[in-house]
C-alpha cells in the first residue's frame, strides 16, 4: 500500500468496478470531509462493495441499516450526538439515486423538514446499479435500462428525471449543491460549505456508472465532464434559496457527444436526440434565469417528448400544380 493510498479515508481494496464513478466520489467525499464524521450509508453498490464482512473500506465510523432508511438513521445519530453534547462531529448520509429519489424519499423528506443536522450526499449514477441496471427516478429521458427496455413500441425511459435539487431546496434546506466527480475543486468547495451548515444540507454528485451506462471504465471522468459541457448536468448551488451557476461552459458541446459514448443511448432516434437537446437548452436557460444571469423570459411549457408510437412513413409532398 502506498503512502498516498494510506491517506485516503475511503481505503483501497473495496470491490467497486475499475472506473466506478461512485467509488471515486466516496474517496473525494471522505478525504474532503475529514475524520470527524459519522457515515450513514443506504443499501446499494457503495455498501456492498465497501463493507463485505470481515473487511471494510471505511476509516471513519460507518453504519448501514437498510435501503430506504438512511436519512432516519442519520437523524437518530445526530440526536444521540446532541444528547451527548457533541457539537463537532458531522453526520453524513451517503446514498445513491435509487435510495434518494425513490425508495428512501419519504424518510429523506422527513429529515429535511425536521431540520436535522445532517449532510446528505447523493452519488447519482442515474440508475439502480446494484440490482443490475434498472430505471430510477434519476434515469434521464431516453435511457435504456433493464426496466425501460428498447423494444418495438417503447424506446427507453419516457419521462424526465426528478428535479431533486429543487425538491430539496423547496424543503427549506439552507444549502444544496449539484457537483460532478470530474470537477474536484468545485466538489471540495461544495462539500466544505455543506459541512459547515448547522441543519440539513445536500450535495448531489454526477457519478457515472460505467457498467450501467455502458462505457469503458477508462473514460468515466470524460463522460461526466462531457455531460457538464453539453448541459446535461449542471454545476450549481442553491444557497438560502439563491441560485448560483458555478460553471457556465462557453461553447457547449452538443448533447450527442456524451450520449454517443454510452450504450444506453445507442438506440436514440434523431427526434429523441433533438428532444434531449431542446430540454438541455431549456434547463440551461431556466438555470441562467434563476441565477440572475439573464432577464426572465416569457413563461413557456417544456417541450413534449416525441411520441412513442412507431414512426410514420413520410407523407409524399403533394406536387405543385
Amino acid at each position: 500500500m502506498s503512502k498516498q493510498s494510506e491517506m485516503h479515508l475511503y481505503a483501497p481494496g473495496h470491490s467497486g468496478c475499475p472506473g466506478c464513478g461512485p467509488s471515486n466520489a466516496l474517496i473525494q467525499v471522505c478525504d474532503t470531509l475529514g475524520k470527524d464524521i459519522i457515515v450513514v450509508n443506504a443499501t446499494g453498490c457503495m455498501e456492498i462493495t465497501s463493507s463485505q464482512y470481515p473487511e471494510t473500506a471505511w476509516r471513519v465510523p460507518y453504519i448501514h441499516s437498510l435501503f430506504e432508511n438512511a436519512p432516519a438513521v442519520a437523524s437518530g445519530v445526530a440526536a444521540a450526538l446532541k444528547a451527548a453534547g457533541n457539537d463537532h462531529t458531522k453526520v453524513v448520509v451517503i446514498a445513491g439515486d435509487g435510495s434518494t429519489y425513490d425508495i428512501g424519499f419519504g424518510s429523506f423528506s422527513g429529515m429535511l423538514e425536521r431540520g436535522d443536522n445532517v449532510l446528505y450526499v447523493c452519488y447519482d449514477n442515474q440508475l439502480y446499479a446494484n440490482t443490475g441496471v434498472q430505471k430510477s427516478g434519476a434515469t434521464p429521458y431516453g435511457a435504456a435500462t433493464t426496466t425501460t427496455v428498447v423494444g418495438k413500441v417503447h424506446k427507453g425511459k419516457e419521462t424526465e428525471r426528478k428535479p431533486i435539487m429543487e425538491i430539496v431546496a423547496a424543503h427549506g434546506a439552507q444549502y444544496c449543491a449539484s457537483a460532478s466527480i470530474a470537477y474536484y475543486a468545485d466538489l471540495q468547495m461544495k462539500l466544505k460549505k455543506a459541512k459547515a451548515v448547522k441543519g440539513p444540507s445536500f450535495v448531489v454528485i454526477d457519478a457515472p456508472c460505467c457498467l450501467g451506462a455502458g462505457f469503458d471504465g477508462a473514460i468515466t471522468m470524460k463522460v461526466s465532464k462531457l455531460s457538464v459541457a453539453a448541459r446535461l448536468w449542471f454545476l450549481y448551488e442553491i444557497e438560502n434559496g439563491q441560485y448560483k451557476m458555478n460553471f457556465n461552459p462557453a461553447n457547449p458541446k452538443p448533447v450527442k457527444e456524451p450520449l454517443e459514448l454510452q450504450k444506453r443511448f445507442k438506440h436514440l432516434s434523431p427526434e429523441q436526440i433533438e428532444h434531449i437537446q431542446r430540454m438541455a437548452n431549456l434547463n440551461y436557460e431556466t438555470l441562467l434565469e434563476k441565477s440572475g444571469m439573464k432577464p426572465p423570459a416569457a413563461p413557456s411549457q417544456p417541450p413534449a417528448p416525441p411520441s412513442q408510437a412507431p414512426p410514420q412513413a413520410p407523407q409524399p409532398t403533394p406536387a405543385k400544380a
Partner: protein, 370 residues
C-alpha cells in the same frame, strides 16, 4: 416509567392505541426531562432513527402498535441483527383489513421471528415494572425488547399502579454503554454485508444469545422483586401444580382466566391459569415442567391464516411427548372481548379431548363496546 430510565433519545409517531403515550413523552421532552425527541414522519423512521441513536450510544425508546408495528417490520430485523438494545412499548392492536383499532395480538405475534425479545404484560402494574427490566435485559444481552400491553384494555385503562421512583430505577439499571458505538475516535463499521460464508454465523449467534437471555430475564425479574416486592419470571402459574386443566394465554386475558379459576375451584374443579409472560425467548422447558401430562388449552388472540394458531403451535411443540393434551381456542379478535362465560366454556370443552376451534364470542352491541 420509561422517563425514570434516563432516556437519551425518543422517536415516536402517533397511532391508536399509543398516541397518548407519544404525547406524554413529548411533554417530558418539552420540560427537558428527555434530551432528544424526534418527530418522525412514519413508524418506519421512528425505529430507524432509534437504530442510529442506539448505535451512537444513546438509550432509546419508542411506542407503537397495530399498523405502526407492521410498518416497522423491516427495520425490526435490522435492529435485532445489529444487536441494538432498543426498548419499545407495543399497544397491541388488530391489523387491517378490515381496519380496526381495537385489541388483539396479531401485530406483535407477527413480529415473533424478528429477533426481538417479547414480554406480554397482564396489567399496567406489570407494564410499568417491565420497562426498566427491559432496558436491563436489552443492554446486557444486546437485543431489543418489545414490551407488549393490550391496546385499550390496558393502554386506556385507569388503574392504580405503583411507579418505582427514579432512585430505585437508578439502583436497578446501570448506565448504558454500547460497546461498539459510532465514534470518530475509534471508527467501526456497523451493519455490514455478509456473504454466505458468514451470514449464518451471525444468525446462529443471535439465536444462541436469545436463548441465553432467559437467565437474564429471570435475573432482572428477581432483582426488581428485591427492590419493589414485585418479582417477575418467564411464566406465572396460578393454581397449576395440582390442576388437571390449565388455560395458557398472554396479556390481560389472563386476569379473567384467574377469576374463572377462582370460581371453578370453589366448585371443586381442579383448574389453573398460566400466564405466558415471555414469548421470545420461548420458555419451552418451563412450560414442559409446569404442564406435562395435563389438559391444556391455549387461547390465541391472533391467528395464522391457513395454519394453526401461533401461540398454540409453540406450546404444543414444547409439550410434545409429555402426554399433555393440548387444545387450541382462538378469537377475541379486533376487540371482541373474551369474557368469563367464554372462559368457563373453554374449561368445559377441554374435558372432552383436544380440539381446535374459534371462541364463539358474540358481536358486541355497539361498535364501541368490547
Amino acid at each position: 416509567m420509561a422517563v425514570n430510565c434516563k432516556l437519551d433519545v425518543v422517536a415516536c409517531y402517533p397511532i391508536t392505541p399509543t398516541t397518548h403515550l407519544t404525547e406524554e413523552l413529548n411533554k417530558y421532552y418539552a420540560d427537558g426531562k428527555i434530551p432528544e425527541y424526534i418527530t418522525v414522519e412514519a413508524e418506519f423512521s421512528a425505529i430507524s432513527a432509534l437504530i442510529g441513536a442506539s448505535a451512537t450510544g444513546a438509550r432509546t425508546f419508542t411506542t407503537t402498535g397495530g399498523q405502526g408495528l407492521l410498518y416497522m417490520h423491516e427495520p425490526l430485523f435490522s435492529a435485532a441483527g445489529m444487536r441494538l438494545p432498543i426498548v419499545m412499548l407495543v399497544g397491541n392492536r388488530a391489523v387491517s383489513s378490515p381496519l380496526n383499532i381495537w385489541n388483539d395480538e396479531q401485530d406483535s405475534i407477527s413480529q415473533r421471528d424478528t429477533g426481538w425479545i417479547q414480554i406480554y404484560c397482564k396489567n399496567n402494574q406489570e407494564a410499568v415494572d417491565t420497562i426498566p427490566q427491559a432496558f436491563y435485559i436489552a443492554e446486557k444481552i444486546l437485543l431489543p425488547v418489545m414490551v407488549c400491553v393490550d391496546g385499550h384494555y390496558l393502554t386506556h385503562a385507569v388503574e392504580q399502579v405503583d411507579v418505582a421512583d427514579e432512585s430505585i430505577v437508578q439502583k436497578f439499571l446501570p448506565p448504558y454503554k454500547y460497546p461498539l458505538k459510532l465514534d470518530p475516535e475509534n471508527p467501526v463499521s456497523l451493519g455490514v454485508y455478509a456473504n454466505p460464508t458468514h451470514y449464518q454465523i451471525f444468525r446462529e449467534d443471535i439465536m444462541k444469545d436469545m436463548e441465553s437471555s432467559k437467565e437474564l430475564i429471570l435475573e432482572a425479574g428477581k432483582k426488581w422483586g428485591q427492590l419493589t416486592g414485585r418479582e417477575y419470571g418467564l411464566i406465572r402459574e396460578y393454581m397449576v401444580a395440582d390442576a388437571d386443566r390449565v388455560i395458557v394465554g398472554v396479556g390481560s386475558l389472563i386476569d379473567n382466566v384467574i377469576t374463572v379459576v377462582n370460581e371453578l375451584r370453589e366448585n371443586g374443579e381442579k383448574v389453573g391459569a398460566l400466564h405466558l409472560r415471555v414469548f421470545r425467548p420461548f420458555p419451552r422447558e418451563e412450560l414442559k415442567k409446569a404442564l406435562a401430562g395435563k389438559k391444556v388449552a391455549v387461547i390465541d388472540r391472533d391467528i395464522s391464516i391457513g395454519g394453526a394458531a401461533p401461540i398454540f403451535v409453540e406450546v404444543a411443540e414444547a409439550l410434545n411427548g409429555t402426554k399433555a393434551e393440548v387444545s387450541s381456542f382462538y378469537g377475541g379478535l379486533g376487540g371482541r372481548g373474551i369474557k368469563r362465560t367464554h372462559i368457563r366454556d373453554v374449561f368445559e370443552k377441554m374435558k372432552k379431548g383436544a380440539r381446535r376451534e374459534w371462541i364463539a364470542t358474540e358481536a358486541p352491541k355497539s361498535a364501541m363496546s368490547g
